[in-house]
């Protein structure tokens, strides 16, 4: 319990801040100080006051989210449809965290409560709002699981998913044990569950960064405030990221090593230069002493790491390469004592690619190698092609780039600040930079920059926290609390734009879902199903029973194309593709929104296509409602049932 003197000090501080613009945090802290003083209320009351902001925030958040109408979501995303209560809830959550972290005696359960609540509030928004699971890829993943569960077939020739089926087999096992028909029944809260599952590894990583527990929690907090990339939906990469974090957590603690890369003479020269450039203070740069690990534990942890990598090699294309790159960086720069581990990871990768994923690589290796080291292609795919779409969407894209730049700038500032104070965290710098090499190696369908940001984030977040942290014991001052609260509020403002900027397209209505279900009931198997873009809730079952085509990726009417004959051109394309079976064109609300948000295709938009086929004699409407229009192509089929 704090002394009366401290309490009166806190009240004095609170009194002074009441006059300032950021009085909220100080006022709340003063209340707590008063509650803790001998003449004040009981300890239970003080604890209740500490928990009150986050409890009220959570209640406000739930009420606000239940009031959101998905149809009000425009091209700037979810933020445009959020009631005022949501912002008040997030502001309160930030104030609560500020109070908790600036408490004279840090309470881990209290901080943990705030972080968990923040994760639920930040990542659970669409889980509350949606009546149907969001994001077309989640539906596709449900279809892969459904195919494995119903046929027992892991046919590598179907598509890439079946070359890395680890996650889908896991999901099929869970669905079977739970007695559920589809993963869509239990994947709605996946973002929250996955993000929470990252928490223990993030704490280990942050504590390897600093012995200052407040700074460590600050790093974890910044990770969650800035992880806008949205790779935590029901997917192989989401669960593989958990494995990545766990492997890195072990590498940074149990396999950590304080190695010296440069000879002593060069080190002295480098240190003199850094001191001269005022980047660091004179004296030794210190990395934390690695913990002593029992040889038996070390062997067991090596084995565990190999098992983890073995599973992730079978579950996701990219993550094991990120693990490999990170481990290589640590070994090369003499920061890991597990020098053989990268070699084992590489052998596992090679074995999987050579035997289990050979079907996929056979058809894709040449184009993949063609894109390797092509920086122009990588920049164009990762940045250039993404700066397109409606005015609101352009704002969202620019905010994403800005947020990424800010996190990296803060990370650099934090690294320099650490050096100036004699704290080197070289391992973290290597781990932050290692994923960047993959941008040059492979554009990854234009998503590599996102992935690099994600895989660097645990480390850049720690450096960013170091840049923003108050120095020394100043954590308990009201200014520090105010700073924490303000940083949180600004970051959440950005997060709501960047994370949920595409929601007008990614959310699906029940009518869209029911329309696709009816299509499966009426279309004979092996029929051709064509959509304008990938953004629709289909393939959740019958994954390999129909032939699916996307006009956005397959339809190329050529240079002589005239919009006036769009319906005829699409009919001709479908005729070519249907192999004399039945063919259906599926146009939905979410595809129309997708075009409005990201820009139409060279041949036109889903809206224009719907208008054209509605009056075309080649198409017969079979399902038409406000959210979906499904047309059957007339003529040419010979009964494929």
């Amino acid at each position: 319990m704090r002394t009366t003197g401290r309490a009166s000090g806190g009240l004095a501080a609170a009194a002074s801040t009441t006059r300032s613009s950021g009085a909220g945090v100080a006022r709340a802290r003063a209340l707590l100080d008063a509650a803790r003083s001998p003449g004040g209320a009981s300890r239970a009351l003080s604890h209740a006051l500490e928990v009150a902001p986050i409890a009220v925030a959570a209640a406000l958040w739930i009420l606000s989210m239940l009031a959101v109408d998905p149809r009000e979501i425009g091209d700037i995303g979810l933020i445009g449809a959020l009631p005022a209560g949501t912002f008040a809830a997030f502001a309160l959550a930030c104030v609560g965290f500020a109070i908790a972290i600036s408490r004279p005696r840090l309470s881990t359960p209290l901080i943990l409560l705030h972080v968990v609540a923040l994760v639920v509030m930040l990542y659970g928004a669409t889980s509350v709002i949606d009546k149907e699971p969001a994001f077309n890829v989640v539906w596709r993943h449900a279809g892969v699981v459904d195919h494995i569960a119903t046929t027992g077939d892991v046919d590598a020739t179907i598509d890439a998913y079946f070359n890395w089926p680890g996650f889908f087999l896991w999901a099929a096992a869970v669905s079977h044990a739970a007695g559920l028909d589809s993963t869509l029944d239990w994947s709605g809260w996946a973002p929250v569950v996955f993000e929470l599952s990252y928490l223990p590894a993030l704490v280990v990583i942050a504590r390897a960064f600093t012995q200052d527990q407040r700074l460590a929690w600050g790093g974890v907090w910044i990770f969650y405030l800035t992880n806008w990339v949205g790779q935590d939906y029901f997917s192989p990469q989401a669960i593989s990221y958990l494995v990545y974090l766990a492997v890195i957590a072990v590498a940074l603690t149990c396999f950590a090593r304080r190695g010296r890369l440069l000879p002593e003479r060069w080190r002295d020269r480098r240190d003199r230069l850094l001191v001269k450039a005022r980047v660091r203070a004179p004296g030794l740069l210190l990395d934390p002493e690695p913990p002593a690990v029992h040889p038996l534990q070390r062997s067991a942890l090596l084995l565990v790491t190999v098992v983890l990598v073995g599973a992730v090699v079978a579950a996701h294309q990219l993550t094991p390469w990120m693990i490999f790159g990170s481990l290589v960086a640590l070994v090369l720069f003499r920061r890991s004592s597990a020098t053989g581990l990268p070699g084992i990871v590489f052998l596992l990768l090679l074995a999987w690619l050579s035997y289990m994923a050979a079907a996929y690589l056979g058809g894709h290796l040449k184009p993949m190698l063609g894109q390797a080291l092509d920086l122009n292609e990588s920049v164009s795919a990762n940045i250039g092609s993404r700066i397109a779409g409606s005015e609101g969407h352009l704002l969202v894209v620019k905010l994403r780039l800005l947020m990424t730049a800010i996190v990296w700038a803060l990370a650099v500032a934090g690294a320099v600040r650490g050096l100036r104070r004699g704290r080197s965290r070289a391992s973290f710098a290597y781990l932050a930079l290692a994923p960047a090499a993959f941008v040059i190696l492979q554009p990854y369908g234009g998503e590599m920059l996102l992935r690099v940001y994600l895989f660097s984030l645990p480390f850049t977040a720690c450096f960013a926290a170091q840049a923003l942290a108050p120095s020394g014991h100043a954590w308990t001052s009201w200014r520090a609390g105010l700073r924490v609260a303000l940083v949180g509020m600004v970051a959440i403002g950005g997060f709501l734009y960047t994370r949920y900027g595409n929601e007008s397209a990614t959310l699906f209505t029940s009518q869209e879902v029911r329309s696709i279900e009816r299509l499966y009931d009426l279309a004979p198997q092996k029929s051709l199903l064509v959509a304008a873009s990938p953004n629709l809730p289909w393939k959740q079952r019958h994954y390999a029973d129909y032939r699916y085509r996307l006009l956005s990726s397959r339809f190329d009417p050529g240079p002589g194309f005239r919009p006036a004959v769009l319906a005829a051109e699409v009919a001709a394309y479908m005729d070519r593709e249907r192999h004399r079976g039945k063919a259906y064109l599926v146009l939905t609300r979410s595809q129309r929104n997708y075009d409005e948000l990201l820009g139409a295709q060279p041949w036109g938009s889903a809206t224009e296509l719907q208008r054209a086929v509605t009056v075309s004699p080649r198409f017969r409407p079979v399902i038409v409602n406000a959210d979906a229009a499904i047309f059957e192509l007339r003529g040419g089929e010979v009964g494929a049932r």
């Binding site: 087999l169 896991w170 079978a314």
Partner: protein, 119 residues
């Protein structure tokens, strides 16, 4: 035997029993889904990581979650590619491994082998 040593095997045993009950009852329910996710998401890792006797509970938790996924994936892969996909067989193997790991923890020395704080 210390209470701490017995805790993990007890949790694993109770979780396996709960899994058996909800699967025997059958049907679809939130409880059954929660029990299955708890068991497959936590228990296999808990059974094996507990044997390493890590002193840092955060590291133990991180490895528990990751290893639970990894074990289930590896068992499912062996089942699918080696013998033909059979969810009941895969589940039976995972449950057996988990119970064996939990039981083995009772036989291992009880002391923690690393400093509590790894920071």
């Amino acid at each position: 035997m210390t209470r701490e040593r017995a805790l993990r095997p007890a949790v694993i045993g109770a979780s396996a029993a709960a899994l058996g009950i909800v699967m025997a009852v059958g049907g679809q329910s939130l409880l059954r889904t929660a029990v299955v996710l708890w068991f497959l998401g936590v228990c296999p890792g808990l059974a094996l990581v507990g044997a390493i006797r890590l002193a840092d509970p955060w590291l133990e938790a991180a490895l528990t979650l990751a290893l639970s996924f990894a074990i289930t994936v590896l068992v499912a892969l062996v089942t699918a590619y080696g013998f033909g996909w059979s969810p009941p067989a895969a589940l039976a193997v995972v449950v057996t491994l988990t119970l064996a790991g939990g039981a083995a923890q009772l036989l291992l020395p009880g002391e923690r082998l690393a400093p509590r704080s790894l920071a």
